[in-house]
């Protein structure tokens, strides 16, 4: 290793942003562990953005681990596979982690099965045509594992008139608490690099950047040792929301993604590290997306861990596996504390988009008195896309949605930095979400 490869500088970054406490030390040294199988799995048919998957199995049917149980329900949709050897117990309406009642497949685990993969074959990706590759990705059930769960094949299927010059692999993991991507980069570095090479074979980007915040030195060192050719590991400053596409692009290329546009407008394609590890495993071993790494952590979680969890595992079982949480817990979150969602019940399954389960007490999530805006300007200094949250917040209080739209509230990607810094504890981003909802509804009515 050369001397240059040893340094974790220069540290690139974007303007503005915030520095919340990281809390990564709770779990960043815990190797990824496998969770024991549980008696029953619940697989919602909507674990991705787009049309729900269509079941191809019947109640009572026996399924093998990794066997397809639902077909894509359209182009923007992916297949779904069984995480275990078992029997289809029911196909019906169950509670989704998003709180809605949605169709799901229930599978009873075969207690006597070895749960070995049977009949899974590796595929040589380099023998495929581009359309075959895209088809394979859709069949593998792959979605973006960063949290949004957008079908991967749609993102990777770049239109003929667009050219991808830069492939950016998002290993920032800028949300506090989460360490799943960090552990993946340390333990699955080879798979990650392999996944990148496979993807870039079809995309043909000139340059691949793996973007990692410098609070993950082990991951940086590991990937620097493995990276070759046009793959470069870039160090980004520890700052939230560094992992947002816009911020990462600004930090690495120094260019702004046009408003309302995609990174591809600048020739950039962004993908999460977890997605590429899963992609490599699919082509290497033929294993579709039936499990993912979840960071189970939080200040009141008894045994913070990074766990490889079969998709469909009840959260309650996963939390129990990690020792449960203490009685002063007041919030259970899915995802990170800045953009994650609060969870009221734990009898819902881990889905493809579940990146973390956090247990927090009132010590972290304080109930604060709201004061008037004192125009201190901290929110302006925090907003990564240079909005004026102070002004937008006043407009939101008056319900002036149109004025908010004129002030670009629709560009807000809801990172929550404004609410984090506001000394008056004004629910800024929360009110912007409401405003965006109203504006979208009004647009629908007008059409």
């Amino acid at each position: 290793m050369s001397a240059a490869a040893n340094t974790i500088s220069p540290q690139l970054t974007f303007q503005h942003g915030i520095h919340p406490e990281e809390f990564k030390e709770l779990s960043n040294l815990k190797p990824i562990e496998r969770m024991a199988f549980v008696p029953e799995y619940r697989l919602p048919l909507s674990q991705h953005i787009g049309a729900p998957s269509l079941p191809v199995v019947k109640v009572g049917e026996n399924v093998k681990r990794g066997q397809k149980i639902a077909d894509p329900g359209g182009y923007v949709s992916v297949a779904l596979h069984s995480p275990v050897d078992g029997t289809i117990k029911d196909i019906g309406i169950y509670t989704h982690p998003n709180g809605r009642e949605l169709p799901a497949i229930i599978i009873t685990t075969d207690a006597y099965s070895s749960q070995e993969f049977v009949g899974m074959e590796s595929v040589d990706p380099y023998s495929l045509s581009k359309s075959e590759f895209i088809q394979k990705i859709q069949d593998s059930g792959l979605v973006g594992l960063g949290g949004a769960a957008f079908p991967a094949h749609v993102k990777f299927n770049i239109q003929e008139d667009k050219k991808c010059k830069y492939l950016m692999i998002n290993g920032c993991e800028c949300e506090p608490f989460l360490t799943a991507d960090d552990r993946l980069m340390i333990e699955f570095g080879e798979e990650l690099i392999e996944g990148i090479k496979i993807l870039n074979h079809f995309i043909g980007a000139e340059k691949v950047y793996i973007a990692v915040e410098v609070n993950k030195p082990k991951a940086i060192m590991n990937l620097r040792n493995l990276a070759s050719d046009n793959i470069e590991v870039v160090c980004l400053k520890v700052k939230y929301p560094q992992g947002a596409e816009k911020m990462m692009t600004s930090a690495i290329l120094g260019k702004e993604i046009p408003a309302g546009g995609l990174p591809l407008d600048l020739g950039v394609l962004v993908s999460n590290v977890g997605t590429l590890v899963a992609l490599a495993q699919y082509f290497r071993n033929g294993i579709p997306l039936i499990e993912r790494v979840v960071t189970v952590t939080g200040t009141t979680m008894n045994r913070p861990s990074n766990v490889m969890v079969p998709v469909g595992t009840p959260m309650e079982s996963l939390v129990k596996w990690c020792g449960g949480f203490t009685s002063d817990t007041t919030r259970i979150l899915l995802g990170g504390p800045m953009m994650g969602m609060v969870q009221k019940r734990l009898d819902v399954p881990v889905v493809k988009g579940t990146s973390g389960i956090l247990a927090l007490s009132s010590e972290q999530v304080k109930e604060l008195n709201e004061y008037s805006c004192i125009r201190c300007g901290r929110c302006l200094d925090a907003c990564p896309i240079y909005l004026n949250p102070s002004h937008l917040g006043l407009l939101a209080k008056k319900g002036l949605w149109e004025e908010m739209e004129e002030n670009h509230v629709m560009d807000c990607f809801e990172c929550g930095s404004c609410s984090f810094v506001c000394p008056s504890a004004i629910p800024l981003v929360q009110s912007f979400r409401v405003a965006k909802g109203f504006i979208k509804q009004a647009k629908k009515r007008d059409v």
Binding site: S327, Y386, N388, S417, C422
Partner: protein
């Protein structure tokens, strides 16, 4: 585990430690040395004036606020009280101070809707009222009669009675400059051994307070720096042109209320611009107005009116200096 009481809310779930009352009380804390210095120079009467101003402001706030509001405990009324007192001359009748506090909070703040809603700095608005209502009293600069514990007789004047000035009156450095063209030496200006309003005389303390408030990110450095630079540069130009008629830049910066105005009044978060370039426009505007009023106006001092005028321009400045959103062309 599952029958625990979990709360529902939306992200973000983490919060920076800074709170609005925290910011306000830090400002109060930074004012303590200034208050102590004022009592050192002007006797215990300075403390009495400060106490009366604070009580007046907080009582007014309490009287006008809805009872559910926490505006009393947020510390902003206390700041207004201290700042108002610091802009008053020693020996200023206490009943006038009390009225000043009522006007500062009543007309400067609650009438607009309370904390965060006002256009003008409340303390300066209160002082502007006092200047209009009691022009003689507010320009009478009584020197303390020596003993620290003696409260000046003029302070204790009965309401609506003329104060019986039985003490030696002095002129402020600005008045001496304006009418006699004599400049006070820089050391006296820095240490505060001069006539003037209670809190404005000790330049060193105000500069230290500025450094503190900037370092804890409560005030934005652009405002005091742009004001002081503008005043310094403009007055240097005139000083170099005609040193006999125009004061030196260091005198312009250290005399009168410029420092306390630049550090505490102009930086009032509520009444100053919020945009990065707006801060400079605002500060430069104040600097220009101060120099104009001091050098060519009828009054020896112009900081108060300069800041109030730029307060009025702040909404406009904010609108015209709006920041370009990410991904948009200007």
């Amino acid at each position: 585990m599952s029958d625990q009481k979990l709360t529902i809310s939306t992200s973000p779930f983490l919060k920076d430690a800074a709170t609005t009352p925290g910011i306000m009380w830090k400002v109060v804390f930074s004012l303590l040395p200034v208050v102590i210095a004022s009592s050192y120079y002007f006797g215990v009467g300075a403390l009495v004036t400060t106490a009366v101003a604070i009580i007046s402001c907080v009582l007014t706030e309490w009287f006008f606020s809805p009872r559910s509001a926490y505006s009393i405990s947020d510390g902003s009324g206390v700041i207004t009280g201290i700042l108002l007192a610091m802009t008053l001359p020693p020996g200023f009748p206490l009943w006038m101070t009390f009225i000043g506090g009522i006007v500062a909070i009543g007309m400067g703040k609650t009438i607009w809707g309370g904390l965060g809603q006002n256009i003008f700095n409340p303390a300066l608005l209160g002082r502007a009222f006092l200047q209009a209502a009691f022009p003689t009293a507010i320009t009478t600069w009584n020197l303390p009669d020596g003993a620290f514990l003696d409260v000046q007789a003029s302070q204790l004047a009965m309401p609506f009675m003329q104060s019986q000035a039985d003490v030696v009156s002095s002129a402020t450095p600005l008045a001496v400059m304006k009418f006699d063209k004599v400049e006070t030496n820089t050391w006296d200006l820095l240490t505060g051994n001069i006539g003037g309003s209670l809190g404005e005389t000790c330049g060193i303390l105000l500069i230290l307070a500025m450094v503190y408030l900037i370092s804890v990110k409560i005030i934005k450095w652009q405002i005091p720096v742009s004001i002081l630079l503008t005043v310094g540069i403009l007055s240097l130009v005139f000083y170099l042109l005609d040193a006999n008629n125009y004061p030196s830049p260091q005198f312009m910066i250290l005399s009168g209320g410029l420092l306390i105005g630049a550090v505490y009044m102009a930086t009032d978060l509520v009444t100053s611009p919020i945009t990065p370039s707006g801060l400079w426009i605002y500060g430069i505007g104040i600097g220009i107005l101060v120099v104009l009023i001091r050098l060519w106006g009828g009054l020896p001092e112009g900081v108060m009116y300069a800041i109030l005028l730029m307060n009025a321009a702040t909404p406009l400045i904010n609108r015209y200096t709006a920041v370009r959103t990410y991904g948009y062309k200007k």
